[in-house]
């Protein structure tokens, strides 16, 4: 057997579905062993440099909004499957609005301010592009269980205005509203619950519910609460990889209105909450566990 054939067989064995070990639950309070890590296309890049401390960033989002977080193991109960961890994060979410394409959104979701650029004296205060915002966050997570895990998380993010004006909320799709809430709404608070259950050693299902609240924003204030639900499943593809997919639902106030007629045929506009649905899909790779 040649060295090339041996290497190919070794790779094949590594890639073959492993059925002996149960696929690990995700998004828990547990911190992986030192040297472990993982990455997804939409999930964060994580790395555990030392026992009990995990570093993470969202690589795609970092292109337009630099971000990073540190999660640290807090404690594990001796006589119960309970684990606590805390998280400290920071991001510059407004970076996306300060420049135009290809990496920025100016000209699309924020003004391009071409007159101001060409003739600064003509309308000096008319450029409504939001200023720079620094958004630190603090969170706490608790998980109960090892194979079937119930996790509760709470976190809070505040956007400190570093320059310029804050800008007004986007009032658009809930995921974007929540992502940029520290920029436009000042702060975002989150309470989430996730139950991750192993159906088979290589197959997991999970259900999540989240409640977000942001600051009320400028007049007229909208309902600051957003409710999110998610159902998803993870399938092992190789020893170190998995495919995850599911569906997510957001319920929020995006200032939508509907026409409501009365018995006489006359109408009025009434505010209604908005419903968004979206698929979730990712390919995850973990190492060092």
């Amino acid at each position: 057997m040649t060295r090339t054939t041996s290497a190919a067989l070794a790779l094949l064995c590594a890639a073959a579905p492993a059925t002996a070990q149960t696929l690990a639950p995700r998004d828990t309070a547990h911190v992986g062993p030192a040297g472990s890590g993982g990455v997804g296309i939409f999930n964060p890049l994580t790395y555990t440099p030392t026992a009990g401390v995990e570093l993470s960033t969202y690589p795609l989002a970092a292109l337009i909004a630099p971000n990073g977080a540190m999660r640290a193991h807090l404690c594990t109960a001796e006589d119960a499957p309970l684990t606590l961890s805390w998280e400290l994060g920071a991001s510059l979410p407004s970076a996306a609005f300060l420049s135009g394409p290809p990496l920025g959104l100016a000209g699309y979701v924020t003004p391009s301010c071409k007159v101001h650029a060409a003739e600064p004296d003509r309308a000096p205060n008319d450029c409504q592009r939001p200023g720079a915002v620094f958004a630190p966050s603090l969170g706490l997570a608790a998980s109960w269980g090892r194979d079937d895990v119930l996790t509760a998380k709470v976190d809070y993010t505040y956007g400190f205005l570093l320059s310029g004006e804050r800008g007004t909320p986007l009032d658009t799709w809930a995921p974007l509203n929540l992502l940029f809430a520290p920029v436009f709404d000042t702060w975002r608070a989150h309470l989430g619950v996730r139950y991750d259950h192993a159906l088979l050693p290589g197959w997991r299902v999970a259900a999540e519910a989240h409640l977000y609240r942001v600051a009320r924003g400028p007049v007229p204030g909208r309902d600051p609460h957003t409710f999110v639900a998610h159902l998803g499943t993870d399938l092992r593809t190789t020893t170190h990889t998995r495919l995850t997919f599911g569906a997510m639902y957001w319920n929020s106030d995006q200032r939508a209105v509907e026409v409501e007629p009365d018995a006489d045929g006359y109408s009025r506009f009434v505010h209604v909450r908005s419903h968004d649905f979206g698929p979730t899909l990712d390919f995850l790779w973990r190492w060092g566990d």
């Binding site: 000209g107 301010c113 799709w173 400028p218 109408s267 419903h275």
Partner: protein, 386 residues
């Protein structure tokens, strides 16, 4: 004029496509009935004495932005207003309406739930703050989120207000532009011809039309829309009033290009460059219908015609590239009547400045229209023949 460019790159399109929602990304108006509104606690209207002229006015109110230079004007960068700004502007607009005291008001560029105008329902506000008690709203630009310059949610349209009950209202979809890419076109404004039927009395009904045609096309869309309007109104059997922002010069206009509010060099975008006007397209309206301001009154020289100009992008506190302050510099807004209706002689007027009379009669105007919108109101005494 209307800011209408909606840019949506591939990246944005993919992101949006991954989400679905009960509310569509944009809604296109379909020909058919539109909602009618009534002021809460509406009183019975004053008895209509057959043959008595009705005070009518058409006004493009620039979504309550007054003289704030928005980005598409190319003289500023504004995209949104605060609630206080909108409230103040609407208070000024409704003050002028109360001064003129119209029986019928046609408005263009009115918004009911737009991010740029702080989500104010301007139909409700005008009903609440004037003596007009009934309204019909003709939505023309309804989008959940317009990813252009941060516009966001948009619900803009035209409206007809009346002191008399509106017993029916519908609109007809107009031709869309064909010179835009598919994504831009989807998020773009869709013009309509709005029609409301007024019950002046148990036995006397009349029709009112409000229109607002395209401003920036280079494919003949506006000309098609003007033809549609002419055909629709020509088929009307009730005595009618037609008014609005036609975005077209009168057939005898002397000054037809290079207006003082146009930039000498394009700065913001060629999307907002003024295409050549086609004044001859307005001739059929003057020939077939009764104009509030006949061409004889409009005059033959620019000095004479200046008195009837209705539009200026630049306000009085702004200057162009040559340092000239803004003032009304072209006529784009009109009132016509027909099918058993016309205007009292010499009653047609353009309300240009504070201190002028209204239709040659008292009261003298206290409000200054030059500071309230980029269009001046057009006024007339509409006579509906029994």
């Amino acid at each position: 004029m209307i800011p209408t460019r909606a840019r949506l790159g591939l990246r944005g399109g993919l992101a949006l496509a991954a989400l679905t929602a009960c509310e569509p990304l944009f809604a296109e108006p379909e020909t058919g009935e539109v909602p009618r509104f009534r002021e809460s606690g509406a009183e019975p209207p004053p008895p209509y004495v057959s043959g008595t002229p009705l005070r009518v006015m058409a006004w493009n109110i620039k979504y309550g932005a007054a003289r704030i230079p928005f980005w598409f004007d190319c003289w500023g960068d504004r995209v949104q207003m605060t609630r206080d700004e909108v409230d103040a502007h609407l208070a000024d607009l409704t003050a002028l309406i109360r001064e003129v005291n119209p029986d019928v008001l046609l408005t263009e560029e009115l918004e009911v739930n737009s991010r740029r105008s702080a989500y104010v329902d301007m139909v409700e506000r005008i009903l609440a703050d004037t003596d007009l008690q009934y309204a019909a709203y003709f939505g023309t630009w309804d989008s959940r989120y317009i990813p252009s310059e941060g516009l966001g949610r948009m619900n803009l349209g035209n409206a007809i207000f009346s002191r008399y009950p509106i017993v029916g209202a519908e609109h007809v979809r107009q031709a869309d532009r064909t010179d835009q890419d598919a994504v831009t076109a989807a998020f773009y404004i869709h013009r309509t011809i709005g029609r409301a039927e007024l019950a002046l009395s148990d036995t006397q009904h009349a029709a009112v039309y409000v229109v607002h045609t395209e401003a920036y096309d280079n494919d003949g869309t506006k000309q098609k829309q003007l033809d549609q309007i002419f055909e629709a109104v020509s088929a009307e059997t009730l005595p009618f009033l037609l008014g609005g922002d036609f975005n077209e010069l009168p057939p005898s206009a002397v000054h037809t290009e290079h207006f003082l509010d146009e930039r000498e060099t394009a700065l913001c975008s060629e999307d907002f460059a003024q295409p050549p006007y086609t004044p001859e397209k307005m001739a059929p309206f003057f020939d077939a219908f009764a104009p509030a301001i006949p061409l004889e009154r409009f005059g033959a020289t620019e000095d004479e015609q200046r008195r009837f100009f209705t539009h200026s992008v630049l306000g009085p506190d702004e200057v162009n590239d040559r340092g000239e302050a803004g003032f009304w510099n072209r006529t784009l807004d009109y009132l016509f009547a027909g099918a058993g209706a016309d205007f009292a002689p010499d009653s047609g007027d353009v309300l240009q400045v504070a201190g002028q009379s209204v239709g040659g009669q008292p009261p003298v105007l206290v409000s200054d229209p030059l500071r309230l919108s980029d269009h001046a109101p057009v006024f007339g005494l509409w006579r509906v023949k029994p």
